[in-house]
Amino acid sequence: MNLLKTGALLLSATLLLLYSCSDTDPVHVKGVAKQNGSLKTAPEFTLKDANGSAVKLSDYRGKVVLLNFWATWCGPCKIEIPWFMEFEQQYKNQGFEVLGIAMDDDGWAAVKPYIAEHKMNYRVVLGDDAVANLYGGIDSLPTTFVINREGKVVDTHVGLIGKDDYISEIKSLLNDTNKDAVLSNSGSPAAALLSLGAIR
Protein backbone atom coordinates (compact mmCIF):
# COMPACT_ATOMS: atom_id res chain seq x y z
CA MET A 1 0.00 0.00 0.00
CA ASN A 2 2.84 2.34 0.97
CA LEU A 3 4.52 1.53 -2.30
CA LEU A 4 1.35 2.48 -4.18
CA LYS A 5 1.12 5.76 -2.28
CA THR A 6 4.75 6.57 -3.00
CA GLY A 7 4.24 5.78 -6.70
CA ALA A 8 1.14 8.00 -6.86
CA LEU A 9 2.99 10.83 -5.15
CA LEU A 10 5.92 10.54 -7.54
CA LEU A 11 3.58 10.53 -10.55
CA SER A 12 1.72 13.58 -9.24
CA ALA A 13 4.98 15.42 -8.64
CA THR A 14 6.16 14.61 -12.17
CA LEU A 15 2.88 15.77 -13.71
CA LEU A 16 2.96 18.96 -11.63
CA LEU A 17 6.52 19.64 -12.78
CA LEU A 18 5.62 19.09 -16.44
CA TYR A 19 2.50 21.25 -16.11
CA SER A 20 4.43 24.08 -14.47
CA CYS A 21 6.92 24.32 -17.36
CA SER A 22 5.96 27.35 -19.46
CA ASP A 23 5.89 27.41 -23.27
CA THR A 24 8.85 29.71 -23.27
CA ASP A 25 11.16 27.36 -21.41
CA PRO A 26 13.78 25.77 -23.60
CA VAL A 27 13.76 22.00 -23.59
CA HIS A 28 16.93 20.10 -22.92
CA VAL A 29 17.02 16.37 -23.28
CA LYS A 30 20.09 14.61 -22.02
CA GLY A 31 20.86 11.62 -24.19
CA VAL A 32 17.64 12.31 -26.04
CA ALA A 33 16.88 8.88 -27.33
CA LYS A 34 18.59 6.71 -24.82
CA GLN A 35 17.23 3.27 -25.55
CA ASN A 36 18.09 0.12 -23.67
CA GLY A 37 20.82 1.96 -21.81
CA SER A 38 22.64 3.18 -24.90
CA LEU A 39 22.49 6.44 -26.83
CA LYS A 40 20.70 6.51 -30.16
CA THR A 41 22.70 6.99 -33.32
CA ALA A 42 21.94 10.32 -35.02
CA PRO A 43 19.86 9.49 -38.13
CA GLU A 44 21.86 9.51 -41.35
CA PHE A 45 20.98 11.99 -44.11
CA THR A 46 22.41 13.38 -47.29
CA LEU A 47 21.77 17.06 -48.00
CA LYS A 48 23.36 19.62 -50.27
CA ASP A 49 25.49 22.54 -49.20
CA ALA A 50 25.60 25.99 -50.82
CA ASN A 51 27.99 24.71 -53.51
CA GLY A 52 25.72 21.84 -54.43
CA SER A 53 27.99 19.25 -52.81
CA ALA A 54 26.33 16.31 -51.09
CA VAL A 55 26.96 16.24 -47.35
CA LYS A 56 26.34 13.09 -45.35
CA LEU A 57 26.21 13.10 -41.57
CA SER A 58 28.35 9.97 -41.60
CA ASP A 59 31.12 12.10 -43.17
CA TYR A 60 31.48 13.59 -39.67
CA ARG A 61 31.96 10.28 -37.86
CA GLY A 62 34.94 10.61 -35.50
CA LYS A 63 34.13 14.25 -34.76
CA VAL A 64 32.04 15.98 -32.13
CA VAL A 65 29.22 17.72 -34.03
CA LEU A 66 26.72 20.45 -33.20
CA LEU A 67 23.88 19.72 -35.61
CA ASN A 68 21.87 22.93 -35.61
CA PHE A 69 18.44 23.26 -37.24
CA TRP A 70 17.89 26.97 -37.89
CA ALA A 71 16.37 29.47 -40.32
CA THR A 72 17.10 32.97 -41.54
CA TRP A 73 13.81 34.25 -40.05
CA CYS A 74 14.60 32.91 -36.57
CA GLY A 75 15.74 35.62 -34.13
CA PRO A 76 17.06 33.29 -31.40
CA CYS A 77 19.01 31.38 -34.09
CA LYS A 78 20.69 34.66 -35.03
CA ILE A 79 21.94 35.02 -31.45
CA GLU A 80 23.60 31.59 -31.54
CA ILE A 81 25.31 31.92 -34.92
CA PRO A 82 28.26 34.06 -33.72
CA TRP A 83 28.82 31.57 -30.87
CA PHE A 84 28.86 28.66 -33.28
CA MET A 85 31.32 30.52 -35.53
CA GLU A 86 33.55 31.01 -32.51
CA PHE A 87 33.29 27.32 -31.53
CA GLU A 88 34.08 26.25 -35.09
CA GLN A 89 37.23 28.36 -35.06
CA GLN A 90 38.30 27.41 -31.55
CA TYR A 91 37.67 23.65 -31.52
CA LYS A 92 37.94 22.59 -35.16
CA ASN A 93 41.50 21.36 -34.71
CA GLN A 94 40.38 19.14 -31.85
CA GLY A 95 37.87 17.29 -34.01
CA PHE A 96 34.80 19.47 -33.67
CA GLU A 97 32.43 20.82 -36.32
CA VAL A 98 29.20 22.73 -36.53
CA LEU A 99 26.77 21.65 -39.23
CA GLY A 100 23.83 23.98 -39.84
CA ILE A 101 20.61 22.71 -41.40
CA ALA A 102 18.66 25.66 -42.78
CA MET A 103 14.90 25.11 -42.77
CA ASP A 104 13.94 28.06 -44.96
CA ASP A 105 11.06 27.35 -47.35
CA ASP A 106 12.62 29.82 -49.80
CA GLY A 107 15.76 27.70 -50.02
CA TRP A 108 19.14 29.04 -51.05
CA ALA A 109 17.57 32.27 -52.33
CA ALA A 110 17.13 33.23 -48.67
CA VAL A 111 19.98 31.29 -47.09
CA LYS A 112 22.92 32.23 -49.32
CA PRO A 113 22.59 36.00 -48.77
CA TYR A 114 22.25 35.37 -45.02
CA ILE A 115 25.41 33.23 -44.92
CA ALA A 116 27.28 35.96 -46.79
CA GLU A 117 25.93 38.78 -44.62
CA HIS A 118 26.79 37.01 -41.38
CA LYS A 119 30.10 35.63 -42.71
CA MET A 120 29.21 32.17 -41.39
CA ASN A 121 32.35 30.03 -41.23
CA TYR A 122 30.75 26.62 -40.82
CA ARG A 123 29.02 24.40 -43.30
CA VAL A 124 25.31 24.85 -43.92
CA VAL A 125 23.07 22.46 -45.79
CA LEU A 126 19.48 22.96 -46.86
CA GLY A 127 17.00 20.92 -44.84
CA ASP A 128 13.55 19.61 -45.68
CA ASP A 129 10.61 17.98 -43.94
CA ALA A 130 12.03 14.52 -44.52
CA VAL A 131 15.19 15.22 -42.53
CA ALA A 132 13.19 17.14 -39.92
CA ASN A 133 10.98 14.08 -39.46
CA LEU A 134 14.05 11.90 -38.99
CA TYR A 135 14.91 14.12 -36.04
CA GLY A 136 11.48 14.08 -34.44
CA GLY A 137 9.67 16.74 -36.46
CA ILE A 138 11.55 19.95 -35.48
CA ASP A 139 8.60 22.00 -34.32
CA SER A 140 10.70 24.90 -33.04
CA LEU A 141 13.93 26.56 -34.06
CA PRO A 142 16.68 26.56 -33.07
CA THR A 143 16.90 22.87 -32.29
CA THR A 144 20.40 21.58 -31.77
CA PHE A 145 21.63 18.03 -31.44
CA VAL A 146 24.98 17.44 -29.76
CA ILE A 147 26.58 14.39 -31.36
CA ASN A 148 29.65 12.55 -30.07
CA ARG A 149 32.49 11.06 -32.11
CA GLU A 150 30.65 7.77 -32.36
CA GLY A 151 27.73 9.51 -34.06
CA LYS A 152 25.44 9.21 -31.02
CA VAL A 153 23.08 11.99 -29.89
CA VAL A 154 24.26 13.05 -26.45
CA ASP A 155 22.03 16.10 -25.94
CA THR A 156 19.15 17.89 -27.64
CA HIS A 157 18.33 21.55 -27.06
CA VAL A 158 15.04 22.99 -28.29
CA GLY A 159 15.32 26.76 -28.08
CA LEU A 160 18.12 29.09 -27.17
CA ILE A 161 20.41 28.03 -24.34
CA GLY A 162 23.46 29.70 -22.83
CA LYS A 163 26.73 29.90 -24.71
CA ASP A 164 28.55 28.49 -21.68
CA ASP A 165 26.30 25.44 -21.67
CA TYR A 166 27.45 24.63 -25.20
CA ILE A 167 31.09 25.23 -24.31
CA SER A 168 30.85 22.83 -21.36
CA GLU A 169 29.26 20.15 -23.53
CA ILE A 170 31.78 20.52 -26.34
CA LYS A 171 34.76 20.48 -23.99
CA SER A 172 33.38 17.52 -22.10
CA LEU A 173 32.86 15.49 -25.27
CA LEU A 174 36.22 16.46 -26.74
CA ASN A 175 37.94 15.51 -23.48
CA ASP A 176 35.98 12.28 -23.09
CA THR A 177 36.71 11.17 -26.60
CA ASN A 178 40.37 12.16 -26.35
CA LYS A 179 40.64 9.82 -23.36
CA ASP A 180 38.69 7.16 -25.25
CA ALA A 181 41.03 7.58 -28.20
CA VAL A 182 44.05 6.90 -25.96
CA LEU A 183 42.38 3.77 -24.59
CA SER A 184 41.15 2.44 -27.89
CA ASN A 185 44.44 3.11 -29.67
CA SER A 186 46.36 1.31 -26.99
CA GLY A 187 44.49 -1.95 -27.48
CA SER A 188 44.37 -3.03 -23.80
CA PRO A 189 44.00 -1.41 -20.38
CA ALA A 190 47.58 -2.34 -19.59
CA ALA A 191 48.81 -0.76 -22.80
CA ALA A 192 46.64 2.27 -22.02
CA LEU A 193 48.33 2.68 -18.66
CA LEU A 194 51.71 2.36 -20.35
CA SER A 195 50.81 4.99 -22.92
CA LEU A 196 49.51 7.32 -20.20
CA GLY A 197 52.83 6.78 -18.43
CA ALA A 198 54.65 7.58 -21.64
CA ILE A 199 52.73 10.85 -21.93
CA ARG A 200 53.92 11.85 -18.50
Binding site: T24, C74, C77, L141
Partner: protein, 128 residues
Protein backbone atom coordinates in the same frame (compact mmCIF):
# COMPACT_ATOMS: atom_id res chain seq x y z
CA UNK B 1 -2.39 31.85 -32.65
CA UNK B 2 -6.15 31.94 -32.35
CA UNK B 3 -8.42 33.71 -34.85
CA UNK B 4 -11.92 34.48 -33.60
CA UNK B 5 -14.65 33.21 -35.93
CA UNK B 6 -15.74 36.26 -37.92
CA UNK B 7 -19.33 37.46 -37.64
CA UNK B 8 -21.40 37.89 -40.79
CA UNK B 9 -20.50 41.14 -42.51
CA UNK B 10 -23.48 43.04 -43.88
CA UNK B 11 -22.90 45.42 -46.77
CA UNK B 12 -25.11 47.24 -49.26
CA UNK B 13 -24.27 47.13 -52.95
CA UNK B 14 -22.10 50.09 -53.93
CA UNK B 15 -21.01 50.67 -50.32
CA UNK B 16 -18.06 49.71 -48.13
CA UNK B 17 -17.90 47.80 -44.86
CA UNK B 18 -15.15 47.21 -42.28
CA UNK B 19 -14.23 43.71 -41.23
CA UNK B 20 -12.13 43.26 -38.09
CA UNK B 21 -10.18 40.04 -37.87
CA UNK B 22 -9.56 39.39 -34.18
CA UNK B 23 -6.35 37.56 -33.40
CA UNK B 24 -4.85 36.49 -30.11
CA UNK B 25 -1.46 35.04 -29.30
CA UNK B 26 -0.41 32.97 -26.33
CA UNK B 27 1.38 34.85 -23.59
CA UNK B 28 5.10 35.23 -24.31
CA UNK B 29 4.72 34.86 -28.06
CA UNK B 30 4.93 37.50 -30.78
CA UNK B 31 4.50 37.58 -34.54
CA UNK B 32 6.40 39.90 -36.83
CA UNK B 33 4.43 42.98 -37.80
CA UNK B 34 3.51 43.70 -41.42
CA UNK B 35 6.73 45.71 -41.68
CA UNK B 36 9.57 43.91 -39.85
CA UNK B 37 12.83 45.83 -39.73
CA UNK B 38 15.00 42.88 -40.73
CA UNK B 39 14.65 41.82 -44.37
CA UNK B 40 15.00 38.14 -43.41
CA UNK B 41 12.01 38.16 -41.06
CA UNK B 42 8.62 37.02 -42.32
CA UNK B 43 5.88 39.69 -42.06
CA UNK B 44 2.32 38.90 -41.09
CA UNK B 45 0.21 39.17 -44.20
CA UNK B 46 -3.54 38.92 -44.74
CA UNK B 47 -4.63 38.24 -48.31
CA UNK B 48 -8.19 37.93 -49.58
CA UNK B 49 -8.18 35.38 -52.36
CA UNK B 50 -11.81 35.01 -53.48
CA UNK B 51 -15.34 36.22 -52.86
CA UNK B 52 -17.84 38.78 -54.12
CA UNK B 53 -16.33 41.83 -52.35
CA UNK B 54 -13.42 43.96 -53.48
CA UNK B 55 -10.62 44.64 -51.02
CA UNK B 56 -10.06 48.39 -50.75
CA UNK B 57 -7.59 48.47 -47.87
CA UNK B 58 -6.02 46.23 -45.24
CA UNK B 59 -4.86 48.00 -42.07
CA UNK B 60 -2.58 46.47 -39.46
CA UNK B 61 -2.33 47.76 -35.88
CA UNK B 62 0.55 49.84 -34.55
CA UNK B 63 3.41 47.43 -33.81
CA UNK B 64 5.35 47.08 -30.57
CA UNK B 65 9.10 46.97 -30.18
CA UNK B 66 10.55 43.83 -28.62
CA UNK B 67 14.24 43.32 -27.97
CA UNK B 68 15.68 39.92 -28.95
CA UNK B 69 19.44 39.75 -28.56
CA UNK B 70 20.87 42.91 -30.12
CA UNK B 71 17.87 43.43 -32.40
CA UNK B 72 14.76 45.47 -31.78
CA UNK B 73 11.90 43.73 -33.53
CA UNK B 74 8.65 45.22 -34.78
CA UNK B 75 5.97 42.80 -33.59
CA UNK B 76 2.38 42.20 -32.54
CA UNK B 77 1.61 40.53 -29.22
CA UNK B 78 -1.46 39.57 -27.19
CA UNK B 79 -4.78 40.49 -28.80
CA UNK B 80 -4.89 42.58 -31.96
CA UNK B 81 -7.07 43.12 -35.02
CA UNK B 82 -6.40 43.41 -38.72
CA UNK B 83 -9.00 45.59 -40.41
CA UNK B 84 -10.15 45.17 -43.99
CA UNK B 85 -12.26 47.67 -45.87
CA UNK B 86 -14.40 45.81 -48.38
CA UNK B 87 -16.44 47.29 -51.22
CA UNK B 88 -19.54 45.58 -52.52
CA UNK B 89 -19.63 46.34 -56.27
CA UNK B 90 -22.94 47.81 -57.50
CA UNK B 91 -23.41 44.78 -59.73
CA UNK B 92 -22.77 42.26 -56.92
CA UNK B 93 -25.47 39.65 -56.47
CA UNK B 94 -27.56 40.13 -53.35
CA UNK B 95 -27.51 37.27 -50.87
CA UNK B 96 -25.18 35.30 -48.63
CA UNK B 97 -21.64 34.54 -49.74
CA UNK B 98 -18.19 33.97 -48.30
CA UNK B 99 -14.95 35.90 -48.54
CA UNK B 100 -11.99 33.54 -48.51
CA UNK B 101 -8.55 34.62 -47.42
CA UNK B 102 -5.32 33.46 -45.88
CA UNK B 103 -3.17 34.73 -43.08
CA UNK B 104 0.55 34.05 -43.18
CA UNK B 105 2.58 34.64 -40.05
CA UNK B 106 5.60 33.48 -38.14
CA UNK B 107 5.60 33.33 -34.34
CA UNK B 108 8.42 33.30 -31.80
CA UNK B 109 9.03 33.73 -28.13
CA UNK B 110 12.28 34.99 -26.67
CA UNK B 111 14.01 31.62 -27.03
CA UNK B 112 12.58 29.87 -30.06
CA UNK B 113 10.52 30.28 -33.20
CA UNK B 114 7.75 28.27 -34.75
CA UNK B 115 7.94 27.58 -38.46
CA UNK B 116 5.95 29.97 -40.71
CA UNK B 117 2.30 29.09 -41.02
CA UNK B 118 -0.58 29.98 -43.31
CA UNK B 119 -4.14 29.64 -42.08
CA UNK B 120 -7.36 29.93 -44.05
CA UNK B 121 -9.75 32.73 -43.11
CA UNK B 122 -13.43 32.81 -44.06
CA UNK B 123 -15.86 35.67 -43.53
CA UNK B 124 -19.57 35.18 -44.21
CA UNK B 125 -21.03 38.20 -46.00
CA UNK B 126 -24.59 39.33 -46.53
CA UNK B 127 -24.97 41.56 -49.58
CA UNK B 128 -28.15 43.67 -49.74
Amino acid sequence: MNIATPQTLSVKRGQTAQQKLQISLRSGFHVNSDKPRDEFLIPIKLTWTSGPLQTKQISYPKPEDVKVGDDTLSVFTGKFTIDTEFLAPPQAQAGIATMQGKLRYQACDSRSCKRPATVAVQVPVSIQ
